[in-house]
Symmetry: C2
Subunit: 456 residues, 2 copies
């Protein structure tokens, strides 16, 4: 028979089994961390009607959409989880309790140019809190606290959540009569880390934006405010009283900083940073970016912010929200690439592998049932193979414990338990063996999927 060459599309991540276990462990931690903060899980279709998905229209994204027809329907694959959320909230408004808190971990699709580390199919892991008409700023403080807990549970240490507020920026521009140019200025300033101060200055004073040298200098001086969070806030206080929007933004920023301290997020892991603006016009208040301190070149691994109007394309209801998104597939790729994955993690699919040494498998099946009832992930090796091949299998799947059941063991009602790591083997009662395995597994539960040694 003629064969088709099996292959996976480029830009689509498909992992080997043990890597997949590691990925699942990370996704699990995200789910559990998000759940601790009272977010509902949400699952929306991957396919939406094109007019619904592209209601906002235009932009860079539209070219990347996977769009096609099926029968009479013009369909598109979702390219993020925010538009489906907006649709969902508008559609189910009457049945939701506000603030509506939801998390969603799901695949999204963007037909980007294929290159190393860029994915066309990738997981996003989003949390959002949506208010009805209003949403208290205390929610803006909770978002980075959630990210802090999530990342530290994953095992990350040297990361920093950077927080700013666009009202502070907008207010500052208004003080300098630059409101009209504020959007363009922020998009330019956002590139500071990438292109450097000189290039930003050149762009600001070029005809497109058209600032005077003095105005550009004022802006660069303003966003150069650095120091501890208390120092940044003190420096910003110097500008108070000159613009209402600025003052509002400063109050919000102060509250966020104060609440974050209450959530016990260390200053090392969160910083007020006036250079953060986020490129999207969508954001209206607090904005977040997260960088790995030892790998700033990777860019933000978790971003988001406050927006005024989640679903304006679908409804007249004012639905302000605040949210953040982790690009999980890319993060996993980066962590593997940079050697952050914990290679000592138990990534076997089973904790116990029963190797029957007799033809009759009744005793093995009985023992397997007992182990599983005790919550031990157990596999029975049922193939008629030589001992050496059975052991090779145990090695290959990386199972922590092998259990031998021969005539002798069965007669004595015992089992030979081999600790695969130490090589030690002991004849034990079923109960003793189970205790041994359960306690070993329990000891591994705290293992994090990431090992961040914090090399500077």
């Amino acid at each position: 028979m003629a064969k088709v060459q099996p292959r996976t599309l480029s830009g689509f991540m498909e992992l080997l089994p043990k890597r997949q276990v590691q990925f699942e462990r990370m996704a699990d931690i995200l789910r559990k961390s998000y759940s601790l903060y009272g977010f509902f899980p949400l699952d929306t279709p991957l396919i939406e009607a094109s007019d619904v998905l592209l209601a906002k229209g235009g932009g860079e994204t539209e070219k990347q959409i996977y769009r096609f027809t099926k029968g009479d329907s013009d369909l598109s694959l979702r390219f993020d989880l925010t538009v489906p959320l907006a649709k969902y909230v508008a559609l189910n408004y009457a049945n939701l309790a506000f603030p509506f808190r939801r998390f969603q971990i799901g695949k999204v699709y963007r037909g980007e140019r294929a290159q190393r580390g860029r994915f066309r199919e990738f997981y996003q892991a989003d949390i959002d809190i949506i208010g009805d008409g209003k949403l208290d700023v205390s929610n803006d403080a909770e978002i980075p606290a959630i990210i802090y807990r999530t990342f530290t549970t994953l095992g990350l240490r040297r990361f920093q959540i950077r927080v700013n507020n666009r009202k502070v920026l907008n207010g500052f521009y208004a003080m300098h009569d630059l409101t009209r140019q504020a959007g363009a200025i922020m998009r330019t300033v956002d590139k500071l880390e990438k292109i450097g101060e000189k290039s930003v200055r050149d762009l600001l004073t070029a005809p497109d934006i058209g600032l005077t040298d003095q105005q550009a200098a004022d802006i660069l001086q303003f966003i150069a405010i650095k120091g501890s969070n208390a120092q940044v806030l003190a420096a910003l206080e110097q500008y108070r009283g000159r613009n209402e929007i600025f003052d509002e933004g400063l109050d919000e920023l102060k509250l966020v900083a104060q609440h974050l301290a209450g959530f016990q997020v260390p200053e090392e892991n969160f910083a007020l940073d006036l250079t953060i603006a986020r490129g999207l016009d969508y954001y209206t208040g607090t904005v977040y970016e997260t960088t790995m301190l030892d790998h700033p070149e990777i860019g933000s691994i978790c971003s988001g912010g406050r927006y005024d109007n989640l679903a304006e394309y679908y409804t007249d209801k004012q639905l302000p929200g605040v949210g953040i998104s982790i690009g999980l597939t890319r993060l996993f790729f980066v962590l593997e690439d940079q050697g952050y994955l914990n290679e000592g993690l138990n990534t076997s699919a089973a904790d116990a592998l029963i190797l029957p040494m007799t033809e009759d498998m009744a005793a093995a099946i009985d023992l397997a049932r007992k182990l599983r009832d005790a919550g031990i992930r157990t596999q029975v090796y049922g193939e008629q193979k030589k001992f050496k091949q059975k052991m090779a299998y145990a090695d290959k799947i990386g199972v922590p414990f092998a259990l031998f059941l021969g005539e002798d063991e069965i007669q004595q009602g015992k089992v030979s338990l081999k600790d695969m790591a130490s090589g030690q083997q002991e004849l034990l009662t079923h109960e003793e063996a189970m205790e041994r395995i359960v306690s070993a597994v329990r000891g591994q539960e705290g293992q994090s999927p990431i090992l961040d040694k914090g090399v500077k």
Copy 2:
């Protein structure tokens, strides 16, 4: 601004938050049950190259495929999880340990005619065990044991896994010189429950298949063998010695029945049933179907079987396997439709809702951190609303406990804990409140998402 009508495509399931929690609980139980048997989780792309996905070609399925082009690429959405598994195993053969055990829970796409209870996007939850060259029949016995554990953990009681073996059927047809017609006969016999005995007899004797009345009667008599598993096996023994394939199939069937008893699967929940053939030519040995005893009209909710050659379109390697699939989206729809969902399940996103009664939220934030550190899913209600509105929110999200923090509580270092179900409210220390919540939550952990009252 002109609005786009928000809507979800027909044939795509999108649930309200509490229903979604119930769905997630079911998916979680599937994941955990499958994991207890040592299966690796697998995640493959939703999009594959069309030539890879449709290597088998033809058939009813191809018309239903979502197929489209992006740039120069001819792409298709997966329509099941078996073809991607075949591709994966062929592609990664050298890096896998065999038997390779994997589970996958993921969405698949079929552009079927939209009608109530039919889905175009739906979850399948598959387990498969793939051998390299050979695969022991003990694996065939484990599959229904896994399904038994999975369904009972979900809360289902009145279901029956029906097992047959195609070698028994093929051997029987060979005895009657009907090998050439065996495929057509099995596809016809498979419809017995749907269309009744008379229609099956008519189809068998019609020119297309062309059996004599005697042959049709022999077949109908054979598949009418009923009784306990021991009785069915005894009846089959009468045919032994007349055909090698039949004898092999009978031995396999006996072993499966014997092992299932060892796995302590009750006879009520599993039956040898000679009417089960599965429509697909793909299966070569053991076959499974699962029916709800009180709703046979729903058809099989979980089906599968043994196959000789998983990946013949991609590789010359002989890769026999055995597997089973739950159509999770359809099952969920049916369970909701028939009133099987446990409406008493805690489907709130949080176990504790903190209601700050002062403007300063510091105490609330501090308490929330403590509760979350203790593993309690906690939400702080930060909106400036009247007490009545706060309570309405607590009711609407269905949270089991509300915690009030006013001036008095804060001064005393205490909290007022309200049990939302009983309405009882008590002033407690933080530690007392936490203990109360933790023990209530622990008590709910055993709640199953399905309540099967077993009405006959």
